[in-house]
C-alpha cells in the first residue's frame, strides 16, 4: 500500500510503530537543533547534514476548514487544517471529524494517526489528525 510522500517527495512522510503510534519523518540539525517537516537533507540555516527523526504524535490545531469543493480524487466534504507539532513545525493535514462533533477550531488538541486519505483501492496512507481528549 502506498504512503503519502512517496510520489511527491520520493519518500514516505509517515510511519507507525509496533504499538500503533504514528509519527512523521522529520529532519533534525545536530548543529542548531532546527527541526523540519517534510524532512530536508541539509539544514536551511547552516547547510549542515541533518538526521532523520520521528515527530511526536500530539499537536494543536492552528486552523481548520471544511472543503466542499475538493481536488479530483477526493470525496467532499473533507476537513483539512494546519496542525502545530512540537519542534515548531506546522503540518498541513486532513482531520477526521465525525458528523455531529463540534467543528475543529484553533487551539484544539489533536492526535496523529495514519489512515487512508482518500477512498478507493489506490488510496495512500497518510497523516490524519483526530480529536485528542
Amino acid at each position: 500500500m502506498s504512503v503519502v510522500g512517496e510520489s511527491s517527495l520520493g519518500a514516505a512522510v509517515i510511519g507507525c510503530d509496533a504499538d500503533g503510534r504514528a509519527y512523521l519523518y522529520v529532519s533534525r540539525c545536530d548543529r542548531c537543533g532546527d527541526v523540519r517537516f517534510p524532512s530536508r537533507p541539509l539544514c536551511p540555516h547552516d547547510l549542515s547534514a541533518t538526521e532523520v527523526a520521528q515527530s511526536g504524535d500530539e499537536g494543536t490545531i492552528y486552523e481548520a476548514v471544511q472543503m466542499s469543493l475538493v481536488p479530483p480524487g477526493f470525496d467532499a466534504p473533507v476537513w483539512v487544517g494546519y496542525v502545530d507539532l512540537p519542534g515548531a513545525i506546522r503540518v498541513f493535514s486532513q482531520l477526521a471529524w465525525e458528523p455531529g462533533e463540534s467543528a475543529p477550531k484553533h487551539g484544539d488538541p489533536v492526535k496523529l494517526t495514519m489512515q487512508r486519505v482518500r477512498s478507493g483501492p489506490d488510496a495512500p496512507l497518510g497523516p490524519v489528525f483526530t480529536r485528542r481528549a
Binding site: V13, E63, S68, V70, P71, V80
Partner: protein, 397 residues
C-alpha cells in the same frame, strides 16, 4: 540605475477562448501595446514573457515568449520566459524593467499570457505547483485562504459580510470594464449564498480560471528621445521576492513576504502608502484583498474589514482598489494577471480608464502573490508607477 518609463500597453479580453492559442493571445496583446506606444517590432530589444502553466495546461513547456515574438515579427533579440506561478507576468515585468534600468537594453516588451479553459479537472480547484506533497492530502489554494479568513475573523472580528463586500465591490468595477470576464452585478446575498467552497468562502469569493494576455512596453529616457516618444508614466519601484520558508509558525492574518516587498518598494520609490491613488491588489480570493490592505499599509492591522465597508477602496472612494474588477472578476489567466494590473494602472494614470477613471490619479501600486511553497507564498511582487510631475492630466481633487 536609469529611470524607466511605460509607453504603451495592450490587453485581450479575459474569458474562455478555446480557439485561440498562447501565441495568438500573446500577439494580440503585444500588437496593441506596440500600436499604443507607436513603436515598431524592430525597435524591441528584448522580450520578457510570463506564462505559468503552459507545460501542464498547454503541452508547451518552452519558448512561449519566442512564439509570441515570432507572431509579432520580433527577431534576433533575447527572449526570457518567466514561470513564477500567479506572479509570472509580474516577474517578467520586473526582469524587463531591470534590463532597461541597468542599461542593458533600451526598449523592452513584456507579455503575460495564459490559456486555462481547456484544462482537465474543470469545476475543481486548481492545484498548486509548489504544494505537491500537501496536494496528496487534498490541499488547494481556497483552503489556504479560507484558513486565513478564519484567523482574521477570530483575531480581529472581521465579518463574513466585510469579506463578501470585496467581491461585490470588484464586480461593480468589472461591470465598467469591457474586457473583464464577469461583469453582471452581484449582491452580498449572492456572494454569501453561493455554492460552498471552503471554510467561510463560497464560489463568488474565488477567482475564476480563464484565457487572456496583457502586454506593456518599457523604455529608457534615451530610447524615448530617439523614438520621438514623450513618456509620462515612470516605473518608480519594481520589487519581487521569494518566500520565508524557515519559520513555519507564521501568523496567517498577515503575509510577511508581502510586508517585505511592500517596504522595499516604498523605500525604492520614496512613496508612502498614503500617496497611492489607485491600486491593483491580488484578490485571488476575497479575503486576500483585505489582508493585503493591511500588509501594504493602506490601514492598520485588523482594520481592513472596516476599510472595505467604508467604501474608501471602491470607485469613488479615496483610494480605489481593483478598478478593473480584480482577479475575481476581470479573471485570472495566471501569467497574464501581473501585466494586466500594469495595464489598468497605466490607463488610470493616463486618464483614459473611461467610466472607471479615478480622478486625478498620479500614483498607482500593483501587488501580486505567486504560488505556495511549504506553507508560505513562493513569490510576491510590488510595482509602483507615477506620472511625471506636470506631465499629465491635472488633479481635480
Amino acid at each position: 540605475m536609469r529611470k524607466t518609463f511605460l509607453v504603451g500597453v495592450g490587453m485581450t479580453s479575459f474569458g474562455k477562448f478555446a480557439s485561440l492559442g498562447l501565441g495568438e493571445l500573446g500577439a494580440d496583446a503585444g500588437l496593441q501595446a506596440l500600436r499604443d506606444a507607436g513603436v515598431s517590432p524592430r525597435d524591441i530589444e528584448m522580450v520578457a514573457c510570463g506564462c505559468a502553466r503552459s507545460g501542464t495546461l498547454q503541452a508547451r513547456e518552452s519558448g512561449v515568449g519566442q512564439l509570441i515574438g515570432w507572431h509579432l515579427g520580433i527577431e534576433g533579440v533575447p527572449v526570457y520566459n518567466e514561470k513564477a506561478f500567479c506572479a509570472s507576468g509580474a516577474m517578467a515585468f520586473n526582469l524587463a524593467n531591470m534590463a532597461v534600468a541597468s542599461g542593458a537594453h533600451d526598449v523592452a516588451l513584456v507579455v503575460g499570457v495564459e490559456r486555462m479553459s481547456g484544462r482537465g479537472g474543470k469545476g475543481r480547484p486548481l492545484l498548486s505547483d509548489g504544494m505537491a506533497f500537501e496536494s496528496e492530502l487534498g490541499f488547494a489554494p481556497p483552503a489556504y485562504y479560507a484558513m486565513a479568513a478564519r484567523r482574521h475573523m477570530e483575531t480581529y472580528g472581521t465579518t463574513r459580510e466585510q469579506i463578501a463586500t470585496v467581491a461585490v465591490k470588484n464586480r461593480k468595477a468589472a461591470a465598467l470594464n469591457p474586457k473583464a470576464q464577469y461583469r453582471t452585478p452581484i449582491t452580498l446575498d449572492d456572494v454569501m449564498g453561493a455554492r460552498h467552497v471552503a471554510g467561510p468562502l463560497g464560489l463568488l469569493d474565488c477567482c475564476p480560471t480563464g484565457d487572456g494576455a496583457a502586454a506593456a512596453i518599457i523604455v529608457s529616457e534615451d530610447a524615448a528621445s530617439r523614438l520621438g516618444l514623450t513618456p509620462v508614466v515612470e516605473v518608480v519601484a519594481s520589487v519581487v521576492g521569494s518566500g520565508y520558508y524557515a519559520d513555519q509558525l507564521r501568523d496567517m492574518t498577515s503575509f510577511g513576504l508581502d510586508r517585505a516587498t511592500a517596504t522595499r518598494a516604498y523605500e525604492q520609490s520614496g512613496i508612502a502608502p498614503k500617496d497611492v491613488d489607485v491600486a491593483e491588489v491580488h484578490d485571488s480570493f476575497s479575503i486576500a484583498e483585505l489582508i493585503h490592505y493591511e500588509d501594504l499599509g493602506f490601514c492598520q492591522p485588523g482594520h481592513a474589514g472596516r476599510l472595505v465597508e467604508s467604501g474608501e477602496t471602491a470607485l469613488g472612494g479615496s483610494r480605489p482598489v481593483n478598478t478593473g474588477g480584480g482577479l475575481l472578476n476581470r479573471g485570472h489567466p495566471l501569467g497574464a494577471t501581473g501585466v494586466a494590473q500594469i495595464v489598468e494602472l497605466y490607463d488610470q494614470l493616463r486618464g483614459r480608464a473611461g467610466e472607471r477613471q479615478v480622478d486625478g490619479a498620479r500614483v498607482g501600486l500593483a501587488h501580486i502573490s505567486g504560488g505556495f511553497h511549504e506553507g508560505d507564498f513562493a513569490t510576491s511582487g510590488v510595482t509602483i508607477l507615477q506620472t511625471r510631475q506636470g506631465a499629465l492630466h491635472v488633479s481635480r481633487r
